[in-house]
């Protein structure tokens, strides 16, 4: 239902009612920010990239066709913005650098559990940062952005089966890095 609404708004933007892009900003900027934050672990850079995505939406609004999945279209733009940015700044995630994350919400846990939970989250973030960027991107899209595999297939321009296999492999690699990091921590 929401996807349908997004598509209509974007068509209106395409046809000249450009100010309505504010509606799309309200709905999606936070998700996009988290997408970039999980890819780059840098808040400032992520905000720049969100800005860039909406600017590109305006710039390429004529390419939006009726029947296009807006979310897939938006994430395609987001991916390209991120790729361009990486090329431009040759910025790769520096492993073990303290990422620019916020706090960990764990209100319903006791102090001991809360500490273990916070440690887990911290390790997981570091593990995620060590994952090759295309695998990290795949996990972010499927796990955090709650996109369907069919949408991810559209964004990445591949088969749904291929997306699932890649997600499986990415999770397995992340698990390996996570256990390695846990071992380092324990020893």
């Amino acid at each position: 239902m929401e996807a349908q609404a997004d598509q209509l708004v974007m068509l209106a933007v395409r046809d000249g009612d450009v100010e309505r892009i504010s509606v799309l900003f309200d709905r999606h900027h936070r998700m996009l920010f988290n997408f970039f934050l999980r890819l780059t672990t840098n808040r400032g850079l992520s905000e720049d990239l969100v800005q860039e995505v909406f600017f590109r939406m305006l710039k390429y609004r004529h390419t939006f066709q009726p029947g296009t999945n807006f979310t897939a279209w938006m994430y395609q733009i987001a991916r390209n913005a991120h790729i361009d940015q990486m090329r431009k700044r040759r910025l790769e995630i520096v492993h073990d650098e303290e990422p620019d994350w916020g706090g960990v919400a764990s209100a319903d846990l006791n102090p001991h559990e809360r500490m273990a939970h916070a440690q887990d989250i911290s390790l997981l973030r570091r593990a995620l940062a060590r994952l090759p960027v295309e695998k990290r991107e795949l996990l972010v899209l499927s796990r955090f952005q709650n996109l369907k595999y069919s949408e991810i297939a559209q964004i990445l321009d591949c088969e749904i089966g291929a997306v699932k296999v890649r997600v499986y492999r990415a999770v397995r690699e992340l698990g390996q890095i996570f256990s390695e990091l846990s071992g380092e921590k324990a020893s």
Binding site: F33, F144, V163, R169, V171, R172
Partner: protein, 271 residues
């Protein structure tokens, strides 16, 4: 179900995209395959943990920046709809004239430079510059006259001689300079100065004051050298008014015979 198929099923299982039948088949395989079961458990834990990473909020500035960008974009669109402004049109027009080849650009630049130099030169010649030069010339002339006059009043004969010589450098001497020269011809004590002053007056012989002065000077001269030079000059400038003075001179007693002879010759010439 084969072990390979589990790889495709698990991602669907994590996102609750499997139907009941598929879930049952997956669970049956995991129950019978310890390797797949171990892996599925580990990976499912990771997948679950990933979900615990909290979502972050962007800074408030992000919205303000977005609104600014949008506003600028909308303004840009409206400007584009109105068509290009005068400035843009002019820029475009000028741009169309500018050659693309660096060689032509260089040629263009040279041509403009030459034009600029020509215009500058013409302006300097015709207007302000010309007046400036004339003013400077006038100033130099005045200075020279001043120098000539002051030199002619010096005690030393050689200084006065220099003054006379200096007056030669003035293209059109003032009446004041001419009068000083005539004074020198008549009254200077030094013969050389009188002779030099006489020579200096030659270019101004068209001046009636000079001519009259020269004629009057005939009576005053005592030195034969100056007398002969004066007579020659009066003949040269064909001053017929000098005839009476010359006639008086020839009848003067005690006159140098050479002078008398020269004066008679002059009277013949000026007839």
């Amino acid at each position: 179900m084969k072990c390979d198929e589990v790889r495709e099923q698990l991602p669907d299982y994590w996102t609750s995209a499997l139907d009941e039948i598929a879930i049952a088949q997956l669970q049956a395989h995991l129950a019978s395959c310890p390797a797949c079961r171990a892996e599925a458990e580990t990976l499912s834990v990771i997948w679950k943990k990933l979900g615990a990473i909290p979502e972050e909020k962007p800074g408030r500035a992000l919205r303000a920046r977005f609104e600014t960008t949008l506003e600028a974009y909308v303004q840009g669109l409206r400007r584009a709809e109105r068509g290009p402004g005068t400035r843009e049109k002019l820029d475009k027009w000028l741009d169309a004239w500018w050659p693309r080849q660096p060689a032509f650009q260089f040629g263009f630049a040279l041509a403009f430079l030459a034009m600029g130099l020509l215009v500058g030169y013409t302006l300097t010649q015709n207007s302000r510059g010309g007046a400036e030069v004339a003013r400077l010339r006038e100033e130099v002339r005045n200075t020279r006259q001043l120098v000539a006059l002051s030199l002619m009043q010096q005690q030393s004969a050689s200084e006065r001689l220099r003054g006379v010589d200096y007056s030669n450098r003035i293209s059109q001497p003032d009446p004041q300079v001419l009068s000083a020269l005539l004074h020198a011809v008549n009254y200077d004590q030094n013969v050389n100065v009188r002779l030099a002053a006489l020579d200096a007056l030659r270019p101004s012989a068209a001046n009636t004051t000079v001519r009259r002065g020269l004629v009057e000077s005939v009576d005053r001269q005592q030195s034969p050298l100056v007398q002969i030079a004066l007579i020659d000059m009066l003949v040269d400038i064909r001053e017929k008014e000098a005839a009476d003075s010359l006639k008086d001179l020839t009848q003067e007693a005690g006159l140098n015979p050479d002078v008398r002879e020269r004066a008679q010759w002059a009277l013949e010439k000026l007839k």
